[in-house]
């Protein structure tokens, strides 16, 4: 009877403790998250979040714009993809929606028509609104006349600057120049720049040219594309993978022999074990960030710096993992090999390694994939690989299509490394 009572009280105490956890833990989590919200100044972040930046980013990721720019001093007109020098249409040529001649007529589509005439006059016909006429001069600023009625909020007019944003395109007029921007979906000039012979060719024509013996020339035009810089980008990706590979492999090569010193069942002297372990702890504790900063002082930007930073951190990690794996080695197999009269080296080769290799390989391969991601970040800090290109593209805050391109490539790279390491793991460990 007393047994049951005791059990009852035990159980009910356990239940109430359980209940405390069930209600207490979510409450704790909630309290912490509320604290974080205010510690991170959540209200300000959300109030000041720049929605326009977000919109620009999203729109720019999947579209490009062509700038038609007229110098309000000389009257010279220039047409360029993204306004970049490398994307400029050659003198005398223009896309079919721009009519050049005595006056430049830009057809933005859906009836939106911009006419640039003289050296500084502009006329913008806007359906369902009317016509805006503007003329700019260095002395008088921008003089614009709008249709009657209040000026809508998509027109921003000041003394020295008029900006009109319509769904079909934008017009910016300043004293020095008038700029018409038209948006198109897609990534322009991705394969061929305007100066390439193959620009504007359809896939059929390209295939025909390729079979006609021009495959090399076509490839070279794509590879050396000056706007998208495929060559540099692919090299940067390669550098990032190289950093990860060298770092991981180097760390494994250093950690493997030294791990024997840190394993209780192999190290003859306790003092060696302690020293080795403390070195590992130090290497891991200092962390990739500090190693990167320290090494980039000695080696400057480049893949080697990143590789060494990864190597130093991971030597610590691998050392710890390997020595733990060594301590878990089954002594019976070593015993068995010893019973055949094998010496120390042979015992390591036939008694220890077969047990160890699968464990170590799978850890190394796992880190190889993870280090590919680390190498991207480290590259951003030291200045090497795809990480550098990515930060540069983001800092300019306008080439979001390039940022998207890099992100897609980075994700593909990580996926590729993931499947490569998975494939190697299956091949090497399952021994097929």
């Amino acid at each position: 009877m007393s047994d049951i009572t005791a059990t009852y009280f035990d159980t009910s105490r356990g239940m109430s403790r359980m209940r405390l956890w069930i209600f207490g833990l979510p409450l704790l989590v909630l309290v912490y998250l509320v604290y974080i919200f205010f510690a991170f100044d959540g209200p300000r972040v959300f109030a000041e979040a720049n929605g326009d930046n977000g919109k620009i980013l999203m729109a720019d990721m999947v579209s490009y714009k062509v700038h038609v720019t007229r110098d309000n001093g000389s009257g010279a007109v220039e047409i360029a993809v993204e306004g970049e020098r490398k994307g400029r249409y050659p003198e005398g040529s223009s896309p079919d929606w721009v009519e050049t001649g005595a006056e430049t007529v830009v057809d933005l589509g859906s009836g939106y028509l911009v006419t640039l005439s003289g050296t500084s006059d502009m006329r913008f016909d806007i359906p369902n609104y009317g016509t805006v006429i503007a003329s700019a001069s260095r002395s008088g600023g921008v003089e614009a006349t709008f249709p009657d009625g209040p000026i809508p909020d998509w027109i921003n007019a000041a003394r020295n600057r008029v900006a009109i944003t319509t769904p079909e395109g934008r017009v910016n007029i300043t004293r020095s120049r008038t700029e018409v921007l038209r948006y198109f979906p897609g990534w322009e000039l991705f394969f061929f720049t305007l100066d390439s012979r193959y620009y504007g060719m359809g896939p059929g024509a390209l295939a025909a040219a390729a079979f006609g013996g021009e495959a090399g020339a076509i490839w070279s035009d794509v590879w050396n594309n000056q706007v998208w810089r495929h060559k540099e980008v692919i090299w940067a990706l390669f550098e990032t993978v190289l950093m990860a590979f060298l770092g991981t492999a180097g760390a494994a090569l250093i950690a493997l022999p030294t791990a024997f010193l840190a394993a209780r069942n192999f190290a003859p002297l306790g003092i060696f074990r302690q020293v080795t372990r403390r070195i590992y702890d130090f290497l891991r504790g200092v962390d990739g960030l500090i190693w990167t900063v320290v090494l980039s002082r000695a080696y400057g930007p480049g893949p080697l710096t990143g590789a060494l930073a990864i190597m130093l951190t991971d030597t610590g990690t691998f050392g710890k993992l390997f020595s733990e794996a060594l301590e878990n080695v089954d002594a019976k197999q070593i015993e068995g090999v010893r019973s055949t009269g094998a010496g120390g080296l042979a015992r390591a080769r036939f008694g220890v390694f077969p047990q160890l290799v699968p464990v170590l390989l799978s850890q190394i391969l796992y880190y190889l994939e993870s280090n590919t991601r680390s190498a991207t970040v480290i590259g951003a800090i030291t200045g090497g690989g795809i990480g550098l290109l990515l930060t540069q593209a983001i800092i300019t805050q306008k080439d979001w299509e390039e940022v998207t391109y890099y992100i897609v490539l980075i994700v593909l790279m990580v996926f590729a490394m993931d499947s490569l390491s998975g494939w190697l793991r299956r091949k090497l460990i399952k021994g097929s």
Binding site: M243, L289, I290, L295, A298, P303, I394, V411, L428
Partner: protein, 290 residues
């Protein structure tokens, strides 16, 4: 070492020869694999060395220049160090909080998603594959990518870093959690189903208590990783210690005592979290009470 495998005992000679041939073939493959690996390593090192601003051997003597500068400066101004450590304590707390909040959010969302992608537990079969792919993508996108884009939209500070790390954590923990949940015995689930429990109740009372120790242990490991990630993201403008470190570095000599203070804080934090996390994880997985 061939003598170890060759046997002198009388045997059908066919077996021995074919066995030896197999061993030889295996060794050939291993040898070729090692050779390829070494070649890749050497070629890779030479390429990296070539493309780096400073070569390996040229830079080697300079490796200790910077640490020596930092240490000597910190030593000279040792009386300032406690004040500096105190000054950067809020940044340290921010770094830890970024990692903590990101781990928590990632673990909560990852936990939910992991149950949705575990065969046998998922409420709807068709959702398994898309959510798994989503988790794969979350895991594959490096934190820095998300952080930099969010810095553009939200401005600098801890929030972009927190979200970026949380996304990656969701992907990583979602996968691990689901592997744990897959191995949980289904007995309690059937019991709960027999008394009419819904999906949420079955998960909450049938699965979560079984997997909680392992999930917690994985989440702790993630927290250790995320502390490092949080520090490194600070360096690209996302607040915390990393951000202060970048500033201290850009001031150059004369301010290295500040860098030293940050190094110390970072090192101590990482080691402490690793040690605490390690012993907690041991207790969790070895079955002892927490």
């Amino acid at each position: 070492m061939t003598d170890l495998t060759a046997s002198s005992a009388p045997q059908p000679s066919g077996v021995t020869t074919s066995y030896l041939a197999e061993v030889r073939l295996r060794r050939l493959y291993s040898g070729a694999g090692v050779l390829i690996f070494v070649l890749l390593l050497v070629a890779g090192f030479l390429t990296a060395n070539d493309r780096n601003a400073g070569g390996f051997l040229n830079g080697l003597p300079n490796i200790f220049d910077f640490p020596a500068d930092v240490i000597s400066e910190a030593w000279e101004k040792a009386y300032d160090l406690p004040a500096l450590l105190w000054k950067y304590l809020p940044s340290l707390i921010e770094t830890v909080n970024i990692a903590g909040a990101a781990t928590l959010i990632g673990a909560l969302i990852g936990g939910l998603l992991s149950l949705l992608v575990t065969r046998g537990l998922a409420p709807s079969r068709w959702a398994i594959i898309p959510i798994r792919r989503l988790l794969d993508i979350f895991r594959a996108v490096p934190e820095i990518v998300i952080a930099l884009i969010l810095i553009f939209i939200l401005g600098g500070g801890p929030v972009p870093a927190m979200i970026a790390i949380a996304v990656h954590t969701t992907g990583a923990l979602g996968k691990l959690f689901s592997e744990v949940a897959e191995n949980a015995p289904h007995g309690p689930l059937e019991g709960l189903r027999s008394v009419g429990a819904g999906w949420t109740q079955r998960m909450l009372f049938g699965v979560v208590p079984q997997v909680a120790p392992n999930w917690l242990s994985y989440a702790l490991l993630r927290f250790e990783i995320n502390i490092r990630a949080s520090a490194i993201l600070g360096f690209v403008g996302a607040g915390g210690l990393g951000y202060d470190l970048r500033n201290a570095m850009s001031w150059g000599p004369g301010k290295f005592d500040e860098a030293a203070a940050i190094f110390i804080l970072l090192f101590v934090t990482i080691v402490t979290v690793d040690q605490l996390g390690g012993s907690l994880r041991n207790r969790l997985t070895k079955g002892a009470r927490v």
